[in-house]
Symmetry: C2
Subunit: 339 residues, 2 copies
Amino acid sequence: MGKNITIVDIAKKTGLSLATVSRALNGDDRVREGTKQRVLEAAGELGYQVNNLAKSLNSSTTNMIGMLIPDITTPFYGRIFAECEKQALRRGYVLSFCNSFNQLKLETHFYSHLLAQHACGVIQIGGSLDQLTIPAALQKQIRSTAEKIPVITSVPVPDTQSCCVFVDNEKSMRTLLEYLISLGHRKIALVGGRSNVRSTIEKRRAYGQILKANGIRKEIICEGNYGQEDGYRAVKKLFREPDPPTAIIAITDMCAVGVLKGLNEMQLQCGRDVSVVSFDNTYIAEMLEPGVTSVSTNYEILGEKIIDILVDMIRNEKTEDHLDIPVNFSIRRSCAPAR
Amino acid sequence: MGKNITIVDIAKKTGLSLATVSRALNGDDRVREGTKQRVLEAAGELGYQVNNLAKSLNSSTTNMIGMLIPDITTPFYGRIFAECEKQALRRGYVLSFCNSFNQLKLETHFYSHLLAQHACGVIQIGGSLDQLTIPAALQKQIRSTAEKIPVITSVPVPDTQSCCVFVDNEKSMRTLLEYLISLGHRKIALVGGRSNVRSTIEKRRAYGQILKANGIRKEIICEGNYGQEDGYRAVKKLFREPDPPTAIIAITDMCAVGVLKGLNEMQLQCGRDVSVVSFDNTYIAEMLEPGVTSVSTNYEILGEKIIDILVDMIRNEKTEDHLDIPVNFSIRRSCAPAR
DNA sequence: TTGTATGCGTTATCAG
DNA sequence: CTGATAACGCATACAA
């Protein structure tokens, strides 16, 4: 590993000063075209590589945005990440990313890391943030981080300058329910989801309100988690009891997978005997047989909004206070009129 | 945004010198326990945050490893990434990651970025690397990068110091084929995959050799891509012709999804009329109905090896030259004896 | 248009 | 054990 090549070397080689070389390299106007060429040429010959560390240290600013997500192997979060990355690149920023796996320690650690690296902004989606009461340690970390750099969270954090880009769970739930009700369903179960997770709570609240508004008394809620097993277990239970639902709302696409497995085992046909819909509208919903009708926020727009707002904050510009992200609703073959 | 708090501030507050503060902060032995406490306390009170930029600039070393992957939203690459991240964190390194989307420009750009950030190592899996002849621009970039920092690739790059951690496609194919043959199948189709992708070429070569070794003449190869549509299309075509296969090997789990859809439409039952297996063994294979028998390298071990070797290279230690990563074979309900 | 000198926050070297 | 000072590579205010 030979010595690093720096602008000093270029200066020597060209006989110019550091300042001129620096300016030429950064496309400063006030440098003669000829000199600029000389510098660029010398840089190429020497195999010069900028050192962003020095650059950032000097300017005390980077183009790195941190992104904290529970689990990127999940199609839902994976998609959100990919959209954010795309937008960030477009705006000249780089995303530095970390799986939190819902571990508080990893989360707070990542915030410190970002601060140490002088990231120019942070995005956290889900994780411990989703708990009904955000852990004090995380709250504190976010608070102190937000004093230095812009922070965007998927859930509002009290007493903080962080900005919340929220997903409208009420609207999604309304979309699903109105669809099912329009098909004549009145016994509709909501399957999966923990009662200490904010988004689930919001969905359940909307579920209750909308049912009531439509004159439906019966709420069927199956507590669980967000995976395949949870949908499976719920179905098994629901259809062993008398008066089972005619339609099922799965809390995630993965949960719907289990629902379909369960129905299948019980010789019930999805899309004929029982209607199934789900949240998240990832490729999983499309992949199933039959394809499952599913709803989510529009991922492209979500990613765009998140990055737009963050970049606005970074550049100290005005930023939208209200945002209305449209819903992505795909009707597939998993539903039929109630009989 | 108030002024940054640095060790200078701590030095002032404690009346110590910069050097001592620095040492105390880094847990240097040769500093009195009492002073250390004073420093730590002051740091806490001031809300001091290390500046890794300065640190790295000075030591000209970071703990950041770059990882370049085609598309992280894919369960296959997502899993590999997650395993690498886990191992990297365990070893005290941070992964900086970029989706290449198979775009040459993004790839070379990412290499420059990593060099500029003084990453301590790079991992590239797939992408343009998978093309039969690696694009010259990428090859050049890898070559010059590998002169400065360790590089690990999923495919050997000629004339380079980069290290290749390869996946044994032959072994995987053998596992699948021997299983099918042991069930009595002799008309086995290989569905999906482009003929200019190295891993596919390797799989096809193994497919041909193993069939021949078992006295099977007939090779049925359906060119395509790696998605759902490709499996679907292939099945439609295969079963419209006379003498269709009794077993299908899908080039990926996603491809198997399409295969199942196609069979379903043609009233053929997977796991009874036709046997289906696939590569990658991601949760997709498990999710399908019926679950699809699938094979892959062991992801945990792959991630571990990759990071172990890279870290060895970073620390200039000896590194394994040969690595034998075991195969992950899950038998599910998608196969039956040939009739 | 170009050059000089200084600082960004740390660590390392050399002296006490 | 502790302190002063010089790097690390770059950008910029100020001077020419």
